[in-house]
């Protein structure tokens, strides 16, 4: 609960061999704690990379919980109109979580997945994938309050449960 950890999206490393997106919606001035990267990195690499990065930043000896979400959920948790072919969430329950949204118009052998698939252009470079991250941090005071509520609830459940069941 009180272990230090990342507090903003810039605490996470940039994706290797990538260009940071300069698009308006990928800018934290418009959407909080969001970052976008164009690269040729595919899902497995990206997910493993941020899983490790998140664990290193959190100083916990176990990795975050890995949840797979439907791609369309990206409109809710990243931002509206976010294109997506996969969406994962890494979460330390009752602390914070980071969403990794990937948009891969091409298979790894570079064949297009759908009609009209095109490469991304950024800084004069062409890229095959786009990764968008959004981090949801939590405040220590909020964590303390929630844990107090949980502790009280467990105590009351135990006491009342004993009276009702036995």
């Amino acid at each position: 609960m009180i272990m230090p950890g990342p507090s903003k999206i810039s605490d996470f490393k940039a994706l290797p061999k990538s260009d940071k997106s300069s698009l308006a919606g990928d800018n934290i001035a418009q959407v909080s704690n969001v970052a976008g990267y164009f690269s040729n990195n595919y899902r497995k690499f990206v997910a493993d990379y941020y899983l490790k990065n998140y664990q290193d930043k959190t100083w916990l000896f176990f990795p975050p919980l890995r949840l797979n979400h439907p791609p369309e959920y990206s409109w809710k948790v990243i931002k509206v109109n976010t294109d997506s072919t996969y969406l994962e969430e890494f979460v330390y329950p009752l602390r914070d979580s980071i969403y990794i949204n990937g948009f891969e118009p091409f298979y790894e052998d570079k064949t297009p997945k759908y009609w009209g698939a095109s490469q991304f252009g950024e800084n004069g470079n062409s890229w095959f994938t786009k990764t968008t991250l959004r981090f949801y941090p939590s405040n220590l005071a909020v964590r303390l309050l929630v844990w107090s509520g949980i502790s009280f609830s467990i105590l009351m459940l135990y006491r009342l449960g004993k009276r009702i069941i036995f």
Binding site: L65, L67, N68, H69, P70, P71, T85, E89, V91, P93, L94, S97, P112, K113, Y114, W115, G116, Y136, S138, N139, V142, R143, L145, V146, G149, I150, F152, S153, I154, M156, L157, L160, G161, R163, I164, I165
Partner: protein
């Protein structure tokens, strides 16, 4: 003293009114809420008024301490407290909800459940109890007649099954559509009917001989309308409910007769029978003729995890992306792998939407925060399994607190089954069976969140707890 009497009487008449108003008044929206198509309705204000008057009455009669001392009320308050912690956690820690929506969904739970202590403390005499049963019987009759009117005389339909309908549009039943009477959704009507059929079964044995025929006719009419809804889960729930009534009432000899009657109902051709058969052939045996992509476009698209993405194919014809048949016999939105038969398709989708979307969403929410869940409203409007929904929304703590509430209620109702008074005993057998039937319905439908049936459920439980304290 006069004020207390007025408060008591006013609250009772409001309760009486609610027993009729909640099931009968269509779901017309009163105040729309940003971000959802669930609206605040007239009944919400009526319930608030009833609870407000009751609260004032409780304070005036110095019953607050007694109410707070009661184990059941403590369990309910604990459930509310955990709901509050979960809503706070969801809003500021997991960020999994829109705060105002989560708070409103939380208030909805309070609104329904608080009706239990209200009814239990206000219905203090047999006269009041009988009065409520008469109003309930007339309400059931009206609901059934309205359903028949919708089916055969094109009476208006008010539905909340999608965002457009929920604006309060006056509709009519299209061919093949299922009746919903005043319930805004055929599943809600079916749950209501399963509840009342179970209670009527208990009352049938409780009532004097001259009342048995009207009860039987009312129960029979409710069963006919239940079959018209073609809701499989509620039919099974009603079936189990009636068998439980027979067991709790020690009338086991009727079970065989009842099962023969049920078999006859299931053999008789109906949409319900067809849906049961389709459930078996499609969901259990995985049989039935399936749709295969007619064009290259459809076949390619079927392999994508997002089938709406455009596909490059050799044909430029608009026909390539249309999944409809020229004859109109196949559903226009069918995709490869789905059953061709429309009844089978409905049954298939009904199960697959739960299995592939709603239930995994609730399980993911539970995994994200197993202790408190991800908060009310975090897993969209429907989960179609109230146990998974509870785990997803309020986690283990909220689910355990809710279970404690139900355990204490079951214990209390069960104690009435041992009473000498035949009338109360059989009524309680009906209510206990109704509770179990309601939980069975909760395995495939969000019954505790369906406003009309949820409010009635807690009110009927309150009525049953009131019986326990009758002299």
């Amino acid at each position: 003293m006069k004020l207390i009497k007025i408060l008591n009487l006013s609250t009772f008449f409001l309760i009486l009114f609610l027993f009729a108003f909640i099931p009968l008044y269509p779901k017309f929206p009163l105040i729309n809420i940003k971000g959802t198509f669930v609206a605040i309705r007239a009944e919400d204000f009526l319930i608030a008024l009833t609870v407000g008057l009751w609260g004032f009455y409780i304070i005036c009669t110095a019953q607050v301490r007694n109410i707070l001392k009661d184990k059941l009320n403590q369990a309910i308050l604990l459930f509310f407290f955990i709901g509050c912690v979960s809503t706070f956690s969801a809003s500021f820690l997991t960020h999994s909800v829109t705060p105002h929506l989560s708070v409103l969904h939380f208030l909805r739970r309070i609104e329904f459940m608080v009706l239990l202590p209200v009814v239990a403390t206000i219905v203090t005499t047999k006269k009041r109890f009988i009065g409520i049963l008469i109003v309930l019987a007339l309400t059931i009759l009206s609901v059934n007649f309205y359903a028949l009117g919708q089916q055969y005389f094109d009476w208006p339909v008010i539905s909340t099954t999608n965002s457009e309908f929920s604006k309060g549009l006056i509709l009519s039943l299209s061919p093949g559509a299922r009746v919903n009477s005043t319930f805004a959704g055929h599943y809600d009507l079916a749950v209501f009917l399963a509840m009342v059929i179970t209670i009527l079964s208990g009352l049938f044995f409780a009532a004097k001989l001259r009342f048995r025929l009207p009860i039987l006719l009312l129960g029979g009419l409710s069963l006919v309308v239940l079959i018209m809804t073609a809701a499989r889960q509620s039919f099974v729930a009603a079936l189990i409910g009636i068998i439980l009534v027979l067991i709790f009432s020690r009338k086991k000899k009727y079970i065989l007769v009842f099962l023969i009657l049920t078999s006859a109902i299931l053999i008789y051709p109906s949409q319900l029978r067809d849906r049961f058969i389709s459930t078996f052939t499609i969901n259990v045996l995985n049989l039935g003729q399936r749709y295969v992509g007619q064009t290259e476009d459809q076949q390619k698209r079927a392999k994508l995890n997002i089938p709406t993405l455009a596909i490059q194919t050799s044909s430029t014809s608009a026909q390539t992306s249309i999944f409809a048949s020229n004859s109109g016999k196949i559903a226009t939105d069918i995709t490869p792998g789905e059953p061709v038969d429309t009844t089978q398709l409905g049954v298939y989708r009904s199960f697959q939407i739960r299995l592939q979307i709603e239930w995994p969403r609730a399980i993911t929410a539970f995994l994200k925060n197993p202790i408190l869940g991800t908060g009310y409203s975090s897993i969209e409007i429907a989960t179609d399994n109230d146990f998974l929904r509870s785990l997803g929304e309020v986690g283990i703590l909220g689910t355990l607190a809710f279970a404690l509430v139900l355990v204490e209620i079951v214990k209390r109702i069960y104690s009435v089954l041992k009473q000498e008074n035949k009338f109360y005993r059989y009524f309680s057998a009906g209510v206990l069976s109704m509770l179990i039937a309601f939980l069975i319905n909760g395995m495939f439908i969000d019954v505790f969140e369906a406003s009309k049936v949820a409010a009635l459920f807690w009110m009927i439980l309150g009525l049953s707890l009131a019986v326990k304290d009758f002299k």
